[in-house]
């Protein structure tokens, strides 16, 4: 069990999401930074699809009721285990009664806590993710509250003693520190080191329906993430994106990453909890490889969109796969080293 002593602003049970059900109106849910949860599960010896805890902004305090191995990934929340600092992207053993505290993100937005065996809530429609809109999945279909108790599944670390509860802590390099292929320079960004988050985007089905000024503004303007943003979508503020063709669209499928523009001309980037159907024109779509980076962009932060082609999008995804392979290789080498030393 994990005792939720303090839940924090928005903390929920998530895995890699619910898939194949959008035609029934069922959204994806799941970790918004899927890469962070994926690595956290690898760092405790879980299958990558195991459920973990997504912490948004915090502060969140968790107590473990038995010895276990955990990992903390995603944004650096200045975590501590009792009073000992815990690095970000770290795998470590915990003892029964120890308390993990995630204070506030130094950078980024969301942290992930994985535990060997995974959070063992009931799987519904192929996933343990919390669907916060529809109110099912996870723990009671809702965000965690103070006093909740989370069941933990049986760990299978027997084969991998290096990931057992007695093995020491270790970490991996955060993907935020990796360059996944060349990151194009945003046309509008000043050359001097900008703090803006650069997000790679492919033009969407209705891109040509926007005015030349709107098309230019998409790539050249900074886009502020307004506080009226959530797991369904980031509402952005910037210049008005004027659509020349004003015919109403019939309802159509929308996806995480879709950038739609309602009549007010201010774009919305859809996130993991996005509804399955929409009616607004789609000016672009964030490439799959950058969705996790978008998930870590903070409220009031500035986004810069850069146009990329399908080939660039695919290459970026391959780079992420290579990063995951490096993580697995590091885990394997550590295992062999520990076995050799016994």
């Amino acid at each position: 069990m994990i005792d939720v002593i303090r839940a924090g602003m928005l903390t929920s049970v998530q895995d890699l999401g619910r898939h194949g059900l959008r035609h029934l109106g069922i959204c994806q849910s799941g970790a918004l930074d899927t890469l962070a949860l994926n690595v956290a599960n690898r760092l405790v010896g879980n299958t990558v699809g195991a459920a973990g805890i997504e912490v948004t902004i915090g502060p969140t305090v968790l107590r473990f009721t038995r010895d276990a191995r955990i990992a903390v990934t995603g944004a650096d929340f200045a975590a501590t285990l009792d009073d000992t600092p815990v690095n970000a992207w770290w795998s470590l053993p915990v003892r029964a009664g120890q308390v993990l505290t995630l204070r506030a993100p130094r950078h980024g937005m969301r942290a992930y806590v994985a535990i060997a065996g995974g959070i063992d809530v009931i799987s519904l429609l192929g996933s343990r993710s919390t669907d916060l809109q529809a109110g099912f999945g996870g723990l009671g279909g809702r965000a965690l509250r103070d006093g909740d108790r989370l069941p933990v599944g049986a760990a299978h670390h027997g084969r991998r003693l290096s990931l057992g509860p007695d093995s020491s802590g270790f970490g991996v390099k955060s993907p935020a520190l990796c360059t996944f292929g060349p990151m194009p320079v945003a046309p509008g960004a000043s050359a001097a080191g900008s703090n803006d988050t650069v997000i790679r985007v492919m033009t969407g089905p209705e891109y040509a329906q926007f005015s030349p000024e709107a098309q230019a503004a998409l790539w050249q303007s900074p886009w502020r993430i307004t506080p009226n943003s959530n797991r369904m979508g980031y509402r952005l503020a910037g210049p008005l994106l004027d659509r020349v063709d004003t015919a109403d669209l019939l309802s159509h499928g929308v996806l995480p990453g879709t950038i739609q523009v309602p009549p007010n001309g201010q774009p919305i980037v859809l996130m993991g909890d996005a509804q399955t159907a929409g009616g607004y024109p789609k000016i672009g779509a964030v490439i799959s490889a950058d969705l996790w980076r978008l998930a870590q962009a903070r409220l009031n932060a500035t986004l810069r969109f850069v146009p990329v082609a399908a080939d660039d999008a695919r290459r970026a995804l391959v780079k992420i796969e290579q990063y995951l392979q490096q993580v697995d290789l590091a885990l394997q080498m550590r295992c062999e080293r520990l076995n050799a030393g016994r």
């Binding site: 035609h23 109106g25 959204c27 669907d131 969407g204 019939l250 996806l255 799959s288 695919r314 995804l317």
Partner: protein
């Protein structure tokens, strides 16, 4: 089946690095929608396809961007529209009992007033039609139904309700539908059903699927 419609193929464009969208030009027709369902059924079994989402006279096919070959998938999808759909949509006929009026349908009187009908006539017309599930969206199990009697078309409420009770049967403009779970909503509530439209613990979580046909039956009124 409209012979002209079967010859027209949809525009096919990419939505990001993991989806293809097939869109027919308006106006939306049931004949075109039947083709959407047919291609959706076929595409669901293709390798590396992860979602197949019918919209109104359009279809979005989502694929695994690491495993799928987008060019091959585009060609396969394009060719699929050459196949004539079966005459039947292949959907099930589902009866949904409704308690019309009273506390279950607080806007029934308003709909009757707007349509210049008696409440009994509204109920008679609403239960007379056979509706078609064009597609689902908005929330899990929420079906966009075609086939509402034009005499019952009623504008949405000026002020949306903060919480529409689960199972509410409603009219919004030219559409009618059922709220699968409690949610905000601006449609006119004319009744309520005890049918469970969405249950995530069922093997078939949604009572309705694209292509299904629906009939409402009056299950007694509290009016």
């Amino acid at each position: 089946m409209d012979a002209v419609n079967t010859l027209i193929k949809p525009a096919l464009v990419a939505l990001g690095d993991n989806a293809l969208v097939c869109s027919f030009a308006p106006p939306a027709t049931l004949a075109t929608q039947a083709r959407v369902w047919a291609v959706a059924r076929a595409a669901r079994d293709w390798p590396h396809v992860v979602e197949v989402v019918p919209g109104m006279n359009n279809l979005t096919v989502v694929y695994d961007p690491l495993k799928a070959d987008p060019l091959a998938l585009t060609a396969q999808l394009d060719a699929a529209w050459d196949e004539p759909p079966e005459d039947q949509a292949g959907g099930n006929l589902i009866e949904i009992p409704v308690r019309y009026g009273g506390a279950d349908g607080p806007d029934l009187d308003e709909v009757a007033r707007f349509c210049k009908l008696t409440t009994a006539e509204v109920i008679a017309r609403h239960t007379a039609a056979e509706y078609v599930v064009f597609f689902l969206g908005f929330q899990p199990g929420f079906a966009y139904l075609g086939g509402l009697d034009p005499a019952l078309h009623t504008p949405r409420r000026a002020e949306p309700r903060i919480a529409v009770p689960v199972g509410s049967v409603a009219i919004g403009g030219e559409q009618t539908g059922i709220y699968p779970s409690e949610s905000p909503g601006g449609w006119q509530l004319i009744g309520r059903s005890t049918s469970v439209l969405f249950d995530p613990s069922r093997a078939q979580p949604s009572l309705l699927a694209p292509g299904d046909r629906v009939r409402f039956t009056a299950a007694g009124s509290r009016a």
